[in-house]
């Protein structure tokens, strides 16, 4: 038992030395993730603000005045460009100069004042689906509020909204914790996927197989660099985001580091499994890529898991990233109890074991 541990340790040290030998590799492992975190954390927002809108105003009465004032005061509105008619507005939308445009008909104010219903048209670019929907709903609210202020009516129930965990619906509170998990995934997979493929390409594979080590000892040793890269980076980013940005950190730091360790283990193991079949670095990289992209897209980061077809949702459950996201959001924003964290750590550990078993089987098959 001791002998096995010593061998694994020796392999781990050798792997670390190889990975860290090239200074540029080191920089890539440290600098580029930080850049990614900052850059993409700030850019990836589904929030809608400063939108360019057009306006065709044939009314110029009290209603349009009030409505436009309310629109201008709202968070969404950026530029409001006036167009003479619907045709020119349509062209502007087509050319993507504006997201859409308000159309105020000539009898708007007279109708509302008279007691009838006034209708404001809103033409939107259907190519930009998310932004259009959100703008439509915000402007609709403003229209309703303006109308009620002008002529109180027996309205239906009022809606009071409370956004738990994130009262101002600040997008960075969602993207930054999530981005930590995504970047760690890419990093760990990139390193682990090269573990065996690199040896094959540089010709040292046979030497590796000739060592007096069992396959699983080799695998565990090779797991170490990627695991450490993931653990250190992940722990560092969590601290950085918690201290530097305005995202609150309500949970326990040791707990999330533990979760990151489990996560790093799972992704490293997956990378190792891919590496076992790759013949050279290109194949390893491409294989890793073929796994990373679905992993990220099915994790719930870019779009909610609720929206996926029912048969696809169990796949999201196997994805370690989807569990890490829940833990990340939960630890930063919700201070989830350790029981819930454990609920999401178990699947990651299971994935680790399964991936290692697969890697072991593949390694044996390829070497015999």
């Amino acid at each position: 038992m001791m002998a096995a541990l010593v061998r694994i340790l020796a392999m781990a040290v050798k792997e670390l030395a190889v990975v860290l030998r090239d200074r540029r590799v080191l920089t890539t492992l440290v600098a580029s993730p930080v850049i990614q975190l900052v850059l993409f954390g700030l850019a990836t927002t589904l929030e809608v603000k400063n939108v360019s809108l057009g306006l065709v105003n044939r009314d110029n009465g009290v209603v349009s005045e009030r409505f436009l004032a309310a629109v201008a005061a709202s968070r969404d509105a950026g530029r409001l460009t006036v167009y003479p008619n619907e045709a020119t507005l349509g062209t502007a939308i087509e050319q993507r100069e504006v997201l859409g445009g308000l159309i105020l008909p000539p009898d708007l104010s007279t109708r509302v004042v008279r007691g009838d219903e006034g209708q404001i048209g809103l033409l939107l670019d259907g190519r930009r689906v998310n932004a259009s929907q959100i703008v439509a709903s915000h402007l609709s609210e403003i229209a309703g509020a303006t109308g009620v202020a002008l002529r109180p009516v027996t309205a239906g129930p009022d809606l009071v909204v409370r956004n738990q965990f994130n009262p101002n619906l600040d997008y960075s509170w969602f993207t930054l914790p999530g981005m930590i998990a995504v970047i760690t995934t890419v990093l760990v997979l990139s390193v682990s996927v090269q573990a065996i493929a690199r040896e094959r390409e540089s010709g040292t594979y046979d030497q590796l197989m000739a060592l007096p080590m069992r396959y699983w000892e080799i695998l565990l040793g090779k797991l170490v660099p990627a695991f450490l890269v993931g653990l250190c980076n992940g722990a560092f980013y969590v601290a950085m985001v918690a201290l530097v940005s305005d995202v609150p950190f309500l949970g326990s730091y040791p707990l999330i580091v533990l979760a990151i360790a489990a996560f790093s283990l799972a992704v490293s193991a997956i990378g190792l499994a891919i590496s076992s079949v790759a013949g050279n670095q290109q194949q390893a990289f491409l294989g890793g890529f073929l796994v990373i992209v679905p992993m990220i897209l099915l994790s719930g980061y870019a779009s909610p898991i609720d929206g996926m077809p029912d048969w696809l949702q169990p796949v999201a459950a196997i994805d370690p990233l989807s569990h890490m996201l829940v833990i990340a959001h939960g630890t930063f924003l919700k201070s989830i109890p350790s029981r819930i964290v454990a609920d999401h750590v178990w699947p990651m550990l299971t994935v680790t074991i399964v991936a290692l078993v697969i890697a072991h089987a593949l390694l044996r098959r390829r070497s015999s």
């Binding site: 603000k49 027996t154 890529f289």
Partner: protein, 377 residues
Amino acid sequence: MTGRDPLLWRRAAAIRAKEWAQIWLDPSTFGLVVLMPLILMFLFGSAVTLDVTATRTGVIDQDRTSASRDLVATLSGNGYFRIAERDSVAEAETALRSGRLRGFIVIPDGFESDLVRGQVPSVQLVTDGSQVNTATLLSAHLRGVLRVWSEGRAARLGQQSNPPLTLIPRYVYNPELESRYMLVPGAIGIVMAMIGSLLTALIMAREYERGTMEGLLSTPISIPALVLSKLLPYYVLGLASTAICVAVAVLGYGLPFRGSYLALFLVASAFLAAVLGQGLLISAGTKNQFVSTQFALLSGFLPSLLLSGFLFEIDSMPPAIQWLTYIVPARYLIPPLQSVFLVGDIWSMFIPNILVLLGFGGFFFLRVTRAIKRQIA
């Protein structure tokens, strides 16, 4: 370059043949060119969706009158909500914290009596704020449902409930508002960016690492010709990938294609010229496969995914980052690509974008030839 080389075409053809042979011998390249487009088309067509569907929402009915039951029934029948009734607010809050619910609605005690007396009861919605987009859309849809419900109820009871002012939205080019109409063309761009920058990032670096670069440089072919010949097979592969994507999008997902194939070809070629050049520059610059792939990911693929405007609106990004998007080639691909599918040929928009992309390509090409030249001297 000293004078004209009479054997130029033959030498270029030889380099191209060698590249093709290398591609053919390594099946993983084809895996990327064929498999990845199919996977991405599938993911963006079926799995990733920004349409809010069946969001898990809890309901706590504290009133238990016919009006509140009617409201709950209306909510349950609405496609946007996957309603699960809970007995207490505490129970719902625990579910919100663990992520089992994305929000819950509380219908307060006295709901119906308030309505009957002409007063305004308050319905409360508590959302999981950590899922910002879902929370936004959830409250928007609930507002809509409440409005329609109260108007319907008023009409049934013979009351006047004409809202004074309503907004009627109309979505051009995509009346059903299917998010896939936006995502699939964008995904095609991602595939092209991937093939362009990632695959080429490996080419040069691999030659340097294996030591075959010196052999190549000692052949009597000019550097620009060498670079172009190496790129040509990957250009063809990029077009092939694009064709596969378009076929899946139109035939498999029923996406409309209202533009012309010529426009698509020109836009795709211009974009490929830009990203191939970018990948090659990274490759020749780093000379190390691991570093070049990481760099290609960081400066090529991720910006194409996140900063091009197809998934996240550029207008909503912080100003500094908006400036950054101007040097992301994919930003000039997305509008023409979306339009060629959903609108038609808008040459006044296409041509400027094509020219910018060709400009990028030319710039990268010049830098690559200069970077390699330095090595020989």
